[in-house]
């Protein structure tokens, strides 16, 4: 008790004072400098490339006789970018910075400058890409460290390492799974009970993740749907991984190992020599088998590699890929509008990931509203499918959790956030995602809402704890007391939760509820407002 009085209590008091101070500051003008737009010279090239991509979409829209909806405002664009690249919407603090941008600045590119400098971007994108590289399974005990791999990926993404380099490291890595985290791409496939890495799993994974080709069926038989693939295509690809070996010194190449398999209809196993499944002219000898494969996969002439990367990055930004499914793109086309244009640019940029994101986010489809300005002529499915309107897609579970948590604090929960908050956020997110339902690798299924999801948001612990009256932790309460007027309170709540200002009918409904309310009843009214906002369709869907 004495300890509590002498130590804990003063600390608590100091913390409360700081929190309140921060809250007040947030609602006044912010003294942080606004983010600076790109230098004009870099913009030049970028805009040329965006124009080239836009032309492709315009052509497709014209061919389908579909007209585009209006452009979305800066707040909407920033919301989409923050959700896609950090897993949470912009904080109220960030929104104020966005609003302080000079008139005429390109909000998308300025917001990307801001996000690329934020470690949350690298960490979140690392997790999203890791799903494609190694899935979500916990994998084999001891030899597989998923967390290490994701951290390594985050470091690479933060450094904006060229994507081809990154993939070459994954495919050809040697060493220990702890000190060389990229080797976990290999060790995730290690078979239980000995036998080392499973070359069939690695072949299937490589084909889907890095080539956008689904060869999985061909493990057992020739292609039944078309004549495109033979069983040998799969196994010749698998043979590139045959010499990968694991021991206590980590992943090594063991040159003496050969790959054997029994083809359908044959009686005995036979040795299979490695051979690439297409474009053999791009293949060059030299180095280990995996090094050879890595070079071929990432060869600039191998557009399949760029296409699948573009398609996945597009899907992360839009919630829906250009070509579905995300990792199975017909090798010989036809391709949807924009895909080849983006892939060509990505290769020309030297596989610059940030640049790719800038082009996609700068493109015409990304800038469209998800609704039509005329309520009598609502958005049509055709407008969505031709990207003449931004498609309405469900947010992922961790994005919903991130939205709840972020909207309850007015400051961005970024790298500078105190570790206690980070830990709390991590624990809350884990629990929430488990109950909300994570589809694992199947990331872009675009599913409807479910009853357990609604129960979780209506009555669940996270929403309750993050919205109930609490002057230290919760923005609903802080706004109730420190905003200068009812209107400012309402605006701030809508911005913090939905990243937009209330409409007139919304003001008409909610303002009278706040009118004349003080103290506890005002706190409760704010908690109720937050509940309504968080339980709306808009909150759980990417608009």
């Amino acid at each position: 008790m004495k300890l509590f009085l002498t130590r804990t209590l003063p600390r608590l008091a100091a913390m409360i004072a700081i929190m309140i101070g921060l809250g007040v500051m947030m609602l006044r003008s912010l003294d942080k400098p606004p983010v600076t737009p790109l230098a004009p010279s870099a913009q030049e090239n970028l805009s040329d490339e965006i124009a080239r991509v836009n032309a492709a979409f315009a052509l497709a829209r014209e061919a389908a006789a579909v007209s585009p909806v209006a452009e979305a405002d800066a707040l909407t664009l920033a919301r989409r970018l923050s959700l896609a690249l950090t897993g949470a919407p912009p904080s109220l603090e960030e929104i104020r910075r966005l609003e302080a941008l000079p008139a005429g600045a390109d909000a998308v590119q300025a917001w990307l400058d801001h996000l690329f400098a934020d470690r949350r971007y690298a960490d979140y994108l690392a997790e999203r890409y890791a799903r494609a590289f190694v899935g979500v399974e916990t994998g084999p005990f001891l030899v597989y460290r998923r967390r290490r791999l994701v951290t390594w990926l985050g470091d690479e993404i933060a450094a904006n390492r060229p994507y081809d380099e990154l993939v070459r490291q994954l495919i050809s890595a040697e060493g220990l799974w702890t000190s060389h985290p990229e080797t976990n791409f290999i060790t995730v496939s290690v078979m239980q009970g000995g036998g080392g890495p499973d070359e069939t799993k690695l072949a299937a994974r490589t084909a889907r993740a890095f080539l956008g080709v689904s060869l999985d069926c061909m493990q057992c038989h020739d292609d039944k749907f078309s004549d495109r693939w033979k069983q040998r295509d799969f196994h010749q690809l698998a043979a590139y991984f045959a010499q990968a070996d694991t021991s206590i010194t980590g992943v090594r190449e063991k040159r003496s190992k050969e790959y054997e398999t029994r083809y359908l209809g044959e009686k005995a196993e036979r040795q299979v020599a490695p051979q690439v499944p297409f474009s053999p002219e791009l293949f060059a000898e030299g180095g280990s088998r995996r090094e050879q494969l890595a070079r071929w996969v990432t060869h600039p002439g191998n557009t399949a590699f760029a296409r699948v990367t573009v398609n996945r990055t597009w899907a992360i930004l839009f919630g829906r890929p250009l070509s579905e499914p995300v990792d199975d793109i017909p090798l010989d086309g036809p391709y949807p509008a924009g895909l080849d244009e983006l892939a060509t640019g990505f290769i020309a940029s030297g596989y610059d990931m940030q640049r790719l994101i800038r082009v996609i986010a700068g493109s015409d489809p990304f800038r469209r509203e998800s609704r039509s300005a005329d309520p009598d002529k609502p958005v049509t499915p055709e407008q969505e499918s031709t990207w003449a309107a931004f498609p309405l897609t469900p947010l992922r579970p961790e994005q919903v959790a991130g939205s709840i948590i972020q909207s309850s604090t007015l400051e961005a929960l970024d790298a500078s956030t105190h570790i206690i908050h980070k830990l709390r956020r991590f624990g809350e997110t884990q629990d929430f995602v488990k109950r909300y339902g994570d589809r694992g690798e199947d990331e872009f299924a675009g599913e409807s809402g479910t009853i357990p999801q609604r129960l979780l948001l209506m009555n669940g612990k996270l929403v309750d704890e993050r919205t109930q009256p609490n002057p230290i932790m919760n923005s609903s309460t802080r706004l109730a007391h420190y905003a200068p007027s009812d209107e400012a309170t309402l605006d701030a709540a809508f911005l913090a939760v939905l990243s937009r200002y209330p409409t007139d009918p919304e003001r008409g409904h909610f303002s009278p509820l706040l009118d004349g309310q003080t103290n506890k009843s005002r706190e409760r009214t704010m908690a109720d407002l937050y509940w309504s906002l968080i339980n709306s369709t808009e909150f759980s869907w990417n608009r």
């Binding site: 499914p325 199947d442 809402g449 357990p452 009555n459 409904h509 109720d528 509940w531």
Partner: protein
């Protein structure tokens, strides 16, 4: 309380209506290479045979129950390593000594002793046994309960026969049953030890504030819908629909089925004073109100160290709960309507390892099937008493269990459902185990 009557003819009227095949054929004539979900449902509804079981209870032994200490002992052999067995109510069939109460009921179910799979990793094997398919990239197969809910929809065009979810997972492990390509609405609803309230079904505020919250929500929904897809709710989000269903559930008397504290003390004691025992009791009550599938998980079978002790501990939990579950289902006249399956992701190695544990063994493990008209008193298949052979006699593949259950429920298991990746996939590509159904 009896489960609600289920129209044997579904939403389609009955005999004399289109048969499913005819519907399929007519749509093929019309040049449709595939069926819309609605047409698929109509086609399915047209073919419902007579009285059938209506529910399934899956007791899921997560971690890998040892066949040798449960339903397939080899007493006196080297691979028993001293484990003892006991006689059952069926002459010639013995169980491990940890199952005395279940052994008394051996006439009520049969044991498949030679189930085999190719999956020796927990996550993959759980997927395999729960769905009847091996993991395949880019596609998630639905679990048994999801298929049942999809194939046996509510009668009379109602959204659901009951207010609470038809597919429930109690004490969910790492991989609770999922709807997979059928959609997340077929995922099992997860709930925990029945001593605790069902999660997230109680409003956090009083009625007055709840009304205010919902009124606010209405205003927000109206502004969001303006200018967006005309059928957004129906064809895309199902948001309000889910909220309405969730609220219906929150106010439903059927929630009481989760509450086992109302059961007589003797009944509760029979199931055992454990989360699993209580959940098994809840499973019976849930089936009684019309739930289609309840999965109850008993975790802790992964005995790589000190196998005998670990298995014995689990058996002490399973035995009373399983015996009481069958007993209560019979007492309530529900056993003929309810298929009970006791399954696990794989068995355990015949040889003990250095830590006196048994490792993973997918080459011959045991699954129990009973109720729902399934023949009892059999033990099908034989594993090698020396533990050497990976090819047991009378082998049954995992998918055959699925085919058998679906067949028994009257579900046309070789019917191909269209998946989102445009590939038709059979509900099950296994074969019915005829010894169990005739």
């Amino acid at each position: 309380m009896k489960p609600p009557a289920f129209s044997p003819h579904g939403a389609c009227g009955g005999p004399g209506h289109f048969t499913r095949r005819a519907l399929l054929k007519s749509s093929a004539v019309a040049g449709l290479g595939w069926l819309t979900p609605l047409a698929q449902q109509l086609a399915r509804g047209a073919e419902k045979p007579g009285a059938r079981p209506q529910s399934v209870i899956v007791l899921w032994m997560e971690g890998g129950a040892s066949q040798l200490e449960t339903f397939d002992p080899h007493p006196g052999s080297a691979i028993a390593y001293g484990a003892k067995s006991i006689k059952t109510a069926v002459k010639g069939i013995q169980f491990g000594e940890g199952l005395p109460l279940t052994a008394e009921r051996a006439e009520d179910f049969s044991i498949l002793r030679a189930v085999t799979s190719k999956e020796g990793d927990h996550t993959r094997a759980i997927y395999n046994v729960k769905t009847g398919y091996r993991p395949f990239p880019g596609l998630i197969h639905p679990a048994i309960g999801s298929i049942i809910c999809h194939e046996m929809p509510a009668p009379d065009g109602k959204a659901a026969a009951i207010d609470i979810p038809s597919h429930i997972s109690l004490l969910p492990g790492q991989n609770p049953a999922r709807g997979g390509y059928l959609g997340a609405q077929y995922d099992a609803f997860q709930a925990y030890d029945p001593v605790k309230p069902v999660p997230d079904v109680r409003s956090r505020t009083d009625d007055e504030r709840q009304r205010q919250r919902l009124a606010g929500l209405d205003v927000l929904e109206q502004s969001f819908a303006a200018g967006r897809l005309a059928d957004m709710e129906k064809t895309r989000t199902l948001h309000r629909t889910s909220i309405e269903r969730a609220r219906l559930m929150m106010s439903s008397d059927q929630l009481a089925a989760f509450d086992v504290s109302v059961a007589p003390k003797a009944v509760r004691e029979a199931f055992g004073d454990t989360p699993f025992g209580r959940s098994c009791l809840a499973a019976v009550r849930l089936v009684e109100v019309g739930v289609r599938c309840v999965e109850v998980t008993l975790n802790g079978w992964d005995t790589h160290i000190n196998n005998h002790e670990g298995q014995a501990k689990q058996l002490g939990i399973l035995d009373p709960a399983l015996a009481a579950l069958i007993g209560l289902l019979k007492e309530r006249d529900l056993y003929e309507n309810t298929i009970v399956m006791v399954a696990t992701e794989f068995g355990r190695t015949p040889k003990l390892n250095l830590a006196e544990g048994r490792d993973h063994w997918p080459h011959g493990f045991s699954v129990l099937l009973g109720g729902g008209g399934i023949r009892g008193g059999l033990a099908i298949g034989e594993t090698d008493p020396t533990g050497e052979s990976e090819e047991p006699a009378g082998k049954v593949h995992v998918e055959d269990i699925h085919a058998t259950i679906f067949h028994q429920l009257g579900i046309d298991y070789d019917y191909e459902l269209m998946t989102p990746i445009g590939r038709p996939i059979a509900i099950s590509d296994g074969r019915v185990i005829r010894e169990l159904t005739s």
